[in-house]
């Protein structure tokens, strides 16, 4: 028997009640979302391949034979994003309650810009994702073109969308914010899950910065190429 008394609630409740438990959930869901961002980018970069390459890829994803898998992936992503946002809102409330009287003067310059703006970059990226799905998946913003049923003409839809400077501008803004969110998130999740080491953590931070910037460059290259007339 140990001398330390712990609250006898169910272990799952106790885990999630603790801020550290919520942070662990944010880190794990963050990994899933990061994985999706990478996969999504690799898929999209096919727009720089043969004119019909990306449409073939889209037809493969939309093939009714793969519909089950597609919905499993979509549900997993929705669950991940839901848990990520739920935990972030609960922790945000905790933060606001924890300091009811603000400082007259506060100097936060020692923290990175990215870490100070997680509750801005995250929600704006989420708002963008909703718009993006309505735009290019649902077709609620502009009517989408199809080659055949279940064969969207992704190439034409992307070119039409990004020819609009407002859509491209919002896209680029969201990607830059995603880049800062991932810069802090990608090394932060190791810390949240318990890994920190004086030799590896500084390298992790550099790696996170490089990854975040590469993802931003990759994603932004598409609207920029469309607007510059390089992808027709």
């Amino acid at each position: 028997m140990s001398a330390i008394a712990i609250n006898p609630v169910h272990r799952v409740v106790r885990f999630y009640e603790a801020p550290i438990g919520k942070k662990a959930i944010m880190a794990l869901t963050g990994v899933i979302l990061f994985g999706y961002v990478v996969a999504h980018l690799l898929g999209n970069l096919q727009i720089f391949g043969d004119p019909d390459q990306i449409n073939k890829y889209a037809a493969f994803l939309h093939n009714p034979a793969n519909a089950g898998l597609l919905w499993v992936a979509r549900s997993a992503l929705l669950l991940a994003v839901g848990l990520h946002i739920l935990a972030s809102l609960q922790l945000w409330k905790l933060k606001n309650d924890a300091r009811p009287v603000a400082y007259v003067k506060k100097d936060d310059a020692a923290a990175t810009y990215a870490s100070r703006t997680m509750m801005w970059s995250g929600p704006i990226v989420a708002a963008f994702v909703i718009f993006h799905v309505l735009h290019l998946t649902v077709g609620a913003v502009v009517p989408l073109q199809e080659i055949a049923p279940n064969e969207p003409n992704v190439r034409a839809n992307v070119i039409a969308g990004f020819s609009n400077p407002l859509i491209s501008g919002f896209y680029i803004l969201a990607i830059v914010l995603l880049c800062t969110h991932l810069y802090h998130g990608l090394w932060s999740m190791f810390q949240s899950l318990g890994f920190s080491h004086p030799r590896y953590t500084p390298k992790l931070k550099k790696g996170a910065a490089i990854f975040a910037i590469l993802i931003a460059i990759g994603n932004c290259s598409i609207p920029i190429a469309v607007m510059a007339g390089l992808v027709k």
């Binding site: 106790r14 801020p19 309650d97 009287v101 400082y103 506060k106 020692a110 923290a111 997680m118 920190s196």
Partner: protein, 248 residues
């Protein structure tokens, strides 16, 4: 040198409080920060005004009693330094300084710059100790400790519980403090028997005291007078997660 102070004045826990401006025309640059406040207080007493209440004890940077925000930085602008070890030579003639108490729900203001930090005591009481057999003293080196672990444990044990980490943290989290205590004990063989329960109990207590949640911003590390590293927070996270997953 001439220093202008804006100090948070609050009569008691129920008073609303406000910033009050004081001019100090003749500050000696060899004074410590607290000596400057002593001089101000002597002035105030001579004028029959209420002196500024601030916590202090050792004035040697070892007890953890002193501390307030100076221009938005806990313990002032000098890294690795308690307020009592900060000297006026680090400021220049004409500086305007804003002094505010640590701000956190868990640290209610008692008076002026003095806050109640007993929430930290309750976190310690929840699990920041080890069980030992009482009786005759044990043999000096009966329990072997790897040198590196001993050093890291000592580094964490340097925490004096001043509360600067909470004060500086935008989330008012007590992660650096709690992490330091958990790492200090958990790095030593003597701390192993209760390691899992300790992590769970101390983390739960910090939540109950209404401290916020760490977002790995690192401002605590930047102002900690004992330069405790963010690594102790990762260690606490790891201990907590492992205890939650593997506990029976």
């Amino acid at each position: 040198m001439r220093i202008t102070l804006h100090i948070w004045r609050q009569r008691n826990a129920n008073d609303a409080g406000k910033m009050v401006r004081y001019e100090l025309p003749n500050v000696n640059h060899e004074m410590s920060f607290l000596e400057m406040l002593d001089v101000l207080n002597e002035d105030l007493i001579a004028k029959n005004e209420e002196p500024v209440a601030f916590d202090h004890d050792c004035r040697e940077g070892i007890c953890g009693m002193c501390g307030c925000m100076v221009n938005g930085m806990a313990h002032g602008p000098l890294p690795g330094t308690t307020l009592c070890q900060l000297h006026m030579r680090h400021f220049k003639d004409g500086d305007e300084l804003y002094l505010e108490p640590w701000r956190a729900k868990a640290f209610p203001v008692v008076k002026d710059l003095v806050v109640d930090r007993t929430a930290f005591d309750r976190i310690i009481a929840a699990g920041g100790y080890i069980s030992v057999a009482t009786g005759s003293a044990p043999d000096g080196n009966a329990v072997m400790v790897p040198k590196e672990d001993a050093e890291r444990s000592m580094d964490a044990a340097a925490c004096i519980g001043c509360g600067a980490c909470v004060a500086m943290c935008p989330n008012a989290a007590a992660a650096l403090f709690t992490g330091a205590k958990i790492a200090h004990l958990g790095l030593l063989p003597q701390g192993q028997p209760e390691r899992q329960q300790r992590a769970i109990a101390m983390v739960a207590q910090a939540k109950q005291e209404l401290f916020g949640s760490c977002t790995n911003m690192g401002l605590c590390e930047a102002v900690c007078p004992k330069e405790i590293k963010l690594e102790v927070i990762a260690r606490m996270n790891g201990d907590f997660i492992r205890a939650s997953l593997s506990g029976r």
